[in-house]
Subunit: 120 residues, 2 copies
């Protein structure tokens, strides 16, 4: 079931243009999930942080949120830091159902779709 909100969570970078594909991905998700609030959030160097985004959604009265990590490879940030951050957010917002989705590189469907585009 589609949650009330989806947060596309990406690494972030110094160059403001870096975020454009992340914002575009969020817009494409929003177009496919009418009625769902879709936000971007960043690990570092860009705003808002994941906690800021989730706090904001909770304050808006959202009851369920899916976090979609826009990462292909999974290093320490995803394997250690993100589950800890999600656990802290669940403790802070006990009435908010927070789902941590597979990251893009872990999703066979996403990888297959990407492969389809680049194998042509």
């Amino acid at each position: 079931m589609t949650p009330d909100a989806i947060v596309v969570f990406a690494h972030g970078a110094r160059d403001p243009e870096w975020a454009r594909p992340i914002e575009r991905l969020a817009a494409l998700i929003a177009a496919r999930a009418p009625g769902t609030r879709v936000r971007c959030a960043y690990l570092e160097l860009m705003q808002p942080s994941l906690a800021e985004a989730v706090d904001g959604l909770a304050a808006e009265g959202v009851r369920s949120v899916r976090i979609v990590p826009a990462f292909i490879g999974a290093g320490g940030h995803l394997k250690r830091d993100l589950p800890l951050a999600v656990a802290a957010l669940r403790a802070k917002h006990p009435r908010l159902a927070i789902e941590l989705a597979s990251h893009i590189g872990e999703s066979e469907a996403a990888l297959a779709a990407i492969a389809e585009v680049f194998a042509r």
Copy 2:
């Protein structure tokens, strides 16, 4: 037209597991492009480098190669360093046609496919 070879080019990381989704993406591309050699290459912290991968393909007699940058956001590495590296490889291998594909985050088709997976 599908080239003789495709190189999936990713950032790289210290954790060897980081590369698994990149290798999986390469395998999925290979399954969709029979007869095309598909290799991985990394910017840093992992082997082979892009130059090593392309040199190897040229030594095998490949005539055309597509480089697919497995990046979602595009920072300085993609915007400055990669075009320079590709120019150097073209100068080094004048008989090899080297195509630099859009990176994943720049491909509307790839982003739409990813959105489809995560909007459910």
